[in-house]
Every structure is written in structure tokens, then in C-alpha cells.
Amino acid sequence: MPDDDLTDAEEPAAAEEPAAADEPAAEEPAILPEHVGMLAKLQADLGDALVEAVSNHGDLVVRVRNDAWHAAALAARSRLDCEYLSFISGIDWTSRPDPPNWDPDAPSSPVQPKEVTYGAAGSDGRFQVFAVVESTDDKIQVILKTDVDEADPHVASWTDVYPGADWHERECWEMFGVRFDGHPSLRHIYLPGEFEGHPLRKDFPLLSREVKPWPGLVDVEAMPGGAGEEAGDETAEAVAEGGE
């Protein structure tokens, strides 16, 4: 009975998968009608510093030039009334290098594709800083993104626009090494002061995973009595499939 269910479930999903992958690609350039007005207001202030804008799953994503990052915050705050800062964070778009004792066939950890691809509204290079601001009166939100130079990652600080940016920028600096120009005291927030490196960069190894591969389902001992053994094999296979 459970077996039937599983096989049933797998087939339609496999058929759907390519369709699901095509859909967002076709939709992507479109801006949702409710975002057109918001975008026009930002465009008026930012001009050609606004590089790209898309609607992604119901949210407006706007990518601006690095030197217009501060202007983007001001525009969002004054034009769109976005007084509420949700967060500022960063992303490293490169793929993770394999650990030294990595076996690509081992199903121990989810394998990310090796080729470098960029998300909604694209990116020029490896690092991006993104933030979400919201208007509590108009109930709208904007996702702002900007590209950050890989060799000298820096961008303007938002602390004079949103006081809450202070901690978020400290975190982003600590985790990605992105310097925020104009930040009053860029120091460690989570990690001890003497910590070296930027942990959320993809080339920063997760030591526990270097020493020992992820002890996933493959390590589970078979249950005594046969039935469990079968299930155990199945899951191991399933994980192997997923890992490809």
C-alpha cells in the first residue's frame, strides 16, 4: 500500500518538473500590475541606476547600481513610504568547492550544481547585498539588491536612513566581508572578536563536514526483522537518486 502511493506520487511529479522549470523563465520579465506604480516611483528617483526589476513570486525585486544603494534606500523610504526595515543580508553566488575527501557519488549531502547561476534580477558577480523594506501603511514591500565588487566588497551604509541597519550590516560584514561605508562601528556581532574569515562565503569550509561526511540516512542501521532492512535500502537508494 505505501509502495503504491509512492510510485504514484513520483510519476506525475517527474512529468511536471520540466514544465515547472519553464514557467518562471517565461514569466520572469513581466512586472505584476500592482508593481508597475511602485517601480515607476523608484525609477523616477534612481534613473539609470536602476539596473533591473522583476516580479518574483508576488514580490517586486529591484536591482540597483552599487553607487546608488544609499539613494535606493532614500527613494524607497520617501517615495514608497517604506519606513520599516525587515533585513539586510548578502549572498555568495559561487558554488561550494568540494571538501578534500569528498566522494561525489556519496549521497551524504545535497549536491549543488557546479555552474554559477544568478537569481531573480540577475547579478554581475559573486557577491550581492539584498534587503527588504516594507510600508506598514500601504502594506507593500520591495526587495532591493545590489552587486558588490568581489576584490573590494563595499557598499554604502544605510544606518542614517534606517537605524536598524546597524546590526544587519554588522552581521553581513562579519558573514560575507562586505564593508559598509559610513557605518559607525563595523565590528563582530555573533562571532568572537578575534575570529578570522567570513563564514557564509561559499569557500569557507564547514569544518564538521570536512572531518566527517554528513551522517545521513545511509548510516541508519537496519531494523531487526527484515522489513526494516528493505526500507533502509530503499531510502539509501532514494538518497542516491536525489544526490545526482
Binding site: 513520483e10 511529479a13 513570486h57 520599516y84 533585513f87 550544481p113 539584498f130 537605524p163 536598524g164 532514494a238
Partner: protein
């Protein structure tokens, strides 16, 4: 009139002496270190405050004692494994934590959970809210010196935790959400039991009201203390009940509908005060409102499966999604970036307490030391939610 040299020196000498006296009388600022281990901080928050007498001149919260690096760890795990981690961000309302992450995955995959699963998710989210707030109501009393409420708080929260345990198998870490629905349906008899318990929740809300609102000490210690103006709160990213207590009418359950909230008629409580008292009062009303939502949803619980058809191995197609919801502590959101693998490429966790606490350097300036403790209690943060 000419001033002689002698007069000039006498003048300077007098002023120097006065300056000397002023320097001697001036207190040196004292630095007081609160935490990291302190009962008032619910964990390991350290606040370094500079005092002038009893008054705080400057405050610097030091966080990170409980930093577990979840954003990094999620990059090494598959989607079902990530829910185990995010259960432990805000451990008082773990179920509510899971929902936005699962939603983000479902959004990228284009899967929708069946109606029954959506309703049960909503019910369990509201139960988490009740559990969190009941503990808050108890704690809030304890922080100003009233010991009785904390016992009621823990007792009454247990009613709700028992319900969560009966449905999910875990009191604190349910790990019950799956991409596409829920692990299981609720057990037989659970709905009737939940209804019965909601009556008790209403009762215990009345108990807290009677215990605290007529208590002069409680009023004196909370009214007008730690005022957050709405505009300042928004700039710092303060959210949830803390922001509603500053008169900002903003609730994601209503303003960015998710789960079954669009189908429920509920009131968003606000208070114009912005002080510790308002934060307490708004949470008390929201506890009652949550119980009403639960009863309302249970009356209309649709039948059917609790799990959509999903592939056995969850592979999320490339894409990214930002999902934020109204958690008991405030706005909780996940920015999930997928590159088509079995695990997420990057997960940015936006937790409510981090932003709620980031206002402390501003808020604590000029308050007295004993008020500092009530302000910390009224902001109501969970350390796991700050440090992630």
C-alpha cells in the same frame, strides 16, 4: 579700570578651584555587566550598560553566545532536514517557525497543501502563539516581582503544549510540516479536547488580567516605561506585538494573507501607548484572539487528505522566494534561494527577536536599572531567535 596682574591671577585661581570641585563631585560612570547568565534575559543575552548613578547612559547588547550558524548549516542539508534546525530558532513556538520555510519551498515548487493541512497548520500556529504568550504573561509578572503569575503561566501553557504534543509528537520541536502538507492528521478526539482547552485559555487570560491589571506595583512598573514611538520602532525593524503596542496597525496575518487567515474574521489589537504596559496588554488580547481563531477554525475544519502528492525526493527547482509571516514574536521570514538541488543554496533567516532587540541601545538610554529588566521582559525575545 585697569586690572592688575594680581587681580587677574586671583580670578584665574578662583575659577580653577571651582573647576577642581566640579571634577571631584562628578561621578565616574560605572559600567555594569548584565548577563550573559541572568534570569531576566531568558538565556544568554549580555547587556553592557554604562550607569550614571541609577540611570543608564549607554547600553550595548552583546549577542552571539548562542550563535549556531543555522544559515551555514542549511546549505549542507536537504529540505526535510532543514525543518529540524529551524525548529530550534524560536523554541517556544517551533511550529510557527516551520511554516514560512515550508511555504517558501512550496512556492518555488508550485505545490499547494490541501485545505485540511492548511487549516491544521493555522490551528497549530495559533496554539504556538497561545503557548508563547501564556508564558510571557507569567514571566512579565515575575520580572516585576509578582511570583504568582509565573506558576499559572507555566501551568496553563502546558495545556496547550499537551495538545501540540498529542498532534505532532513533540512538545517543543514538532517537526511536523512537510513540503506539500503535514506528516499526519490530528488524532481522534483531538478537536473536542482542543475546544475544551480553549475554554481554559480564556479562563487563564481572565486570571492574568485579575492578577496583574489591578496590581498597583505592576502598573507603576510598566506604565510609561520604555516607550517606543511607532516611527522609531519601524526604522529598527521592530515587529509583531511590540510594534502594534506602539499604535502601528500592521499584522501580516491580515495584511499579507497566508494559511487560512483570509477565511477567519479576527481583530488586530493595537494600543497607542508604546510602553511596557501596552506590550503586555496587546499580548493578552492577542492570546484571547488566538483562542477565538482556533475555535472558529475547528468549527469549519475541512475534510480530506493532509498531504499533497509530492515526489518522494524533494527537489526544488531553481528560483528564490521570500516568505514572511506573523510569528508570536513578530515578523519571521525566510529568503530561500534554490539552485535545483535537494537542499537550499542559501537561506536568509529573518528572525523577529534580532530586530526587536536591536532597538535596545536607543530604548535603554535614560532608563533606571530596575526598569531595564521590565523593558527586556516586555520586549519578549527568545535567545535562539536572536542568535540563530
Amino acid at each position: 579700570m585697569a586690572v592688575t596682574e594680581q587681580q587677574q591671577q586671583a580670578f584665574i585661581g578662583k575659577h580653577l578651584a571651582e573647576a577642581q570641585v566640579a571634577v571631584e563631585l562628578q561621578d565616574e560612570d560605572m559600567v555594569l555587566n548584565i548577563g550573559p547568565q541572568h534570569p531576566a534575559t531568558h538565556g544568554t543575552l549580555r547587556v553592557v550598560v554604562k550607569l550614571d548613578g541609577e540611570r543608564v547612559v549607554a547600553a550595548d547588547p552583546v549577542i552571539g553566545y548562542m550563535h549556531r550558524g543555522y544559515e551555514k548549516l542549511t546549505e549542507y542539508r536537504s529540505y526535510p532536514q532543514v525543518t529540524t534546525l529551524i525548529n530550534r530558532i524560536d523554541w517556544l513556538s517551533s511550529f510557527a517557525n516551520e511554516v514560512p520555510f515550508i511555504h517558501a519551498g512550496e512556492q518555488i515548487m508550485g505545490i499547494e497543501a490541501p485545505p485540511r493541512a492548511v487549516y491544521i497548520r493555522t490551528v497549530l500556529t495559533e496554539l504556538s502563539r497561545i503557548a508563547t504568550f501564556l508564558l510571557f504573561l507569567g514571566e512579565m509578572g515575575a520580572q516585576v516581582g509578582a511570583i504568582t503569575p509565573v506558576f499559572y503561566g507555566f501551568r496553563d501553557r502546558e495545556y496547550v503544549l499537551n495538545l501540540i504534543e498529542a498532534a505532532t509528537g513533540g512538545r517543543f520541536h514538532p517537526n511536523f510540516n512537510r513540503i506539500g502538507g503535514l506528516k499526519d492528521d490530528v488524532p481522534a478526539g483531538w478537536i473536542a479536547e482542543t475546544r475544551r482547552m480553549m475554554d481554559k485559555v480564556f479562563e487563564s487570560c481572565d486570571t492574568f488580567e485579575n492578577l496583574l491589571e489591578g496590581n498597583e506595583i505592576f502598573l507603576a512598573r510598566t506604565k510609561g516605561i520604555g516607550i517606543i514611538p511607532g516611527d522609531v520602532g519601524k526604522g529598527y525593524g521592530v515587529s509583531g506585538s511590540n510594534l502594534r503596542a506602539s499604535g502601528v496597525d500592521w499584522d501580516l496575518r491580515r495584511d499579507a494573507p497566508y494559511l487560512a487567515y483570509p477565511e477567519v474574521d479576527f481583530k488586530v489589537w493595537t494600543h497607542p501607548g508604546g510602553d511596557s504596559w501596552s506590550r503586555y496588554w496587546v499580548r493578552l488580547q492577542e492570546t484571547r484572539e488566538a483562542a477565538r481563531i482556533v475555535v472558529d477554525l475547528l468549527d469549519r475544519l475541512p475534510s480530506g487528505p493532509v498531504m499533497a502528492k509530492v515526489p518522494r525526493i524533494i527537489k526544488v527547482p531553481p528560483g528564490e522566494s521570500w516568505v514572511r509571516v506573523e510569528n508570536p514574536l513578530g515578523e519571521m521570514g525566510y529568503y530561500v534561494v534554490s539552485k535545483g538541488a535537494t537542499g537550499p543554496f542559501r537561506v536568509k533567516i529573518r528572525s523577529a527577536s534580532f530586530s526587536n532587540v536591536s532597538i535596545l541601545p536607543w530604548l535603554l538610554k535614560g532608563v533606571y536599572v530596575p526598569d531595564l529588566i521590565t523593558i527586556l521582559a516586555s520586549l519578549y525575545f527568545i535567545l535562539g531567535d536572536i542568535d540563530r
